[in-house]
């Protein structure tokens, strides 16, 4: 998927942009819906990345002991 090719930083920047749009601009309800869906999706992707990284580090820590 397109967002999975983006880096973590790029994804965070996109989330921040969506939130800014929701807060400052005057979208209609449908658009808000889409924005929220998109943002939630992106947040979940980031959370997944973080979880995976945490697991990797934990594995390394176990192996070096």
């Amino acid at each position: 998927m397109k967002n999975q090719e983006k880096t973590y930083s790029e994804t965070i920047a996109e989330i921040e942009a969506i939130i800014a749009k929701i807060e400052s601009e005057d979208p209609n309800i449908d658009e808000i819906d889409n924005y929220i869906k998109k943002a939630t999706e992106l947040i979940n992707i980031c959370k997944e990345k973080i979880c995976k990284t945490e697991k990797k580090i934990e594995n390394i820590m176990e192996n070096t002991d």
Partner: protein, 410 residues
């Protein structure tokens, strides 16, 4: 005029001489010529040379009758080691004799060998002195004898036993050294030896650079045979040869003048050959030892180098091992105390940030407001935020939590 016959004259002279010179006289003279006839009588021409001009100032015939000569000859030869020969100074006891036909002569009845020995020795000493004064006595001995005397010019006679002994000793040497000899044949005794040897000396000069040494070789012989090696001209010429001379002139007692001027003197031809072989052998052993030392030294050096290398390798492994261990410990510390904690902390912060985003979205979501019973009024898709924007007669849309309705502002 009174005349007298020749015979009468000769007889008168004879008588006169006989009466005047009746006894024996001890006479010193030099033999100019000497010969023996078939009857055993010895005939000589005696001469006295003027020392300055070297020309005869007196001459006389002499004879030793066979019965006397038979005794005198061996006696003289035994005592002096030499034969009566021309050029020899002798002291004789003789009677003056005058013959009508043969004229004046001396009849030798005895001879003193010690005088001749003395004369020979005197002549030798004079020869040596002259060679010293001419500055040539020592010059050949001052030349450096080569360490490898392999190319030899040999002055000798091919038929002489001494020459064969020399060659055999040289070429049958036990080390199989390769000598190269060039024979310059010469007459090695007698009156002709001087000119013969001087002649070959000239020939040697023409090829002198081909040789390391010059060998003068002849076998043993009587003092007469070896007399030529006391000759001044021979010694003078040989001394000046620019290559070292080795003499192998077989002699029992006295050494000759040629022996004295030679760079190396050996008693016999065999000894001369042995000397040459020993020279080369010495160098051979020296080189062998050098090469042995070289090999040993190289072995020791290699061994030391190997040991050093081993030590260095062990040190290197130890040091490298220590360094690697240190680095490993540092890395472990880094990871356990810095990297992991910092990374996990960062990730944790990111999670909190994401949670915050989530909350922000929820707060910003208008649907949450609608669920609380509020409605959103829009006109042409745009939200009406104040009463002043709602004009009478405007068609608006009201969005509720569960749907939408259209309405007109009154």
């Amino acid at each position: 005029m009174d005349t007298i016959s020749l015979f009468e004259l000769q007889t008168a002279i004879k008588n006169g001489i006989n009466s005047l010179f009746s006894g024996k006289y001890n006479i010193v003279a030099e033999i100019n010529e000497i010969k023996t006839n078939s009857s055993g009588h010895c005939y000589m021409e005696l001469v006295e040379q003027d020392e300055k001009s070297n020309t005869p100032k007196a001459k006389c015939n002499a004879q030793i009758w066979a019965y006397t000569y038979r005794m005198l000859k061996p006696y003289f030869e035994t005592e002096t080691g030499r034969q009566l020969e021309s050029g020899m100074k002798i002291l004789v006891s003789a009677k003056v004799n005058y013959h009508e036909i043969y004229g004046l002569s001396l009849n030798i009845v005895d001879i003193d060998p010690t005088f001749t020995i003395g004369e020979i020795e005197l002549k030798r000493r004079k020869t040596i002195q002259k060679l010293i004064e001419d500055g040539v006595f020592d010059i050949n001995r001052e030349l450096e004898f080569p360490i490898l005397p392999l190319n030899i010019a040999v002055i000798s006679s091919e038929t002489a036993a001494g020459y064969q002994d020399f060659i055999n000793q040289l070429f049958d040497n036990k080390y199989n050294f390769n000598f190269k000899t060039t024979l310059f044949p010469a007459i090695m005794q007698g009156r002709e030896s001087e000119s013969s040897i001087l002649n070959v000396v000239d020939k040697i000069y023409a090829e002198i650079e081909n040789f390391d040494v010059i060998a003068i070789i002849r076998g043993g012989g009587s003092a007469s045979d070896l007399a030529c090696f006391d000759n001044y001209n021979l010694a003078f010429a040989l001394a000046q040869i620019p290559k070292p001379i080795i003499s192998g002139i077989g002699h029992d007692k006295d050494i000759s003048i040629v022996d004295m001027i030679a760079n190396q003197m050996q008693k016999t031809p065999t000894a001369a050959a042995e000397f040459l072989v020993d020279c080369v052998a010495q160098q051979y052993y020296f080189l062998e030892e050098l090469s042995r030392n070289l090999v040993n030294n190289a072995k020791i050096k290699l061994q030391n180098a190997r040991l050093e290398l081993n030590n260095l390798t062990i040190r290197m492994k130890n040091e490298a091992g220590k360094k690697i261990e240190k680095q490993k410990n540092m890395l472990e510390l880094f990871f356990s105390h810095k990297f992991f904690p910092i990374t996990l902390s960062k990730l944790s912060k990111e999670k909190m940030k994401l949670d915050l985003f989530q909350k922000q979205i929820e707060i910003s979501n208008p649907k949450n407001i609608l669920c609380k019973g509020y409605a959103i009024i829009t006109k042409n898709g745009k939200r009406i935020k104040s009463a002043s924007e709602a004009k009478s007669g405007n068609c608006v849309e009201i969005t509720f939590k569960n749907g939408r309705k259209s309405a007109t502002i009154k």
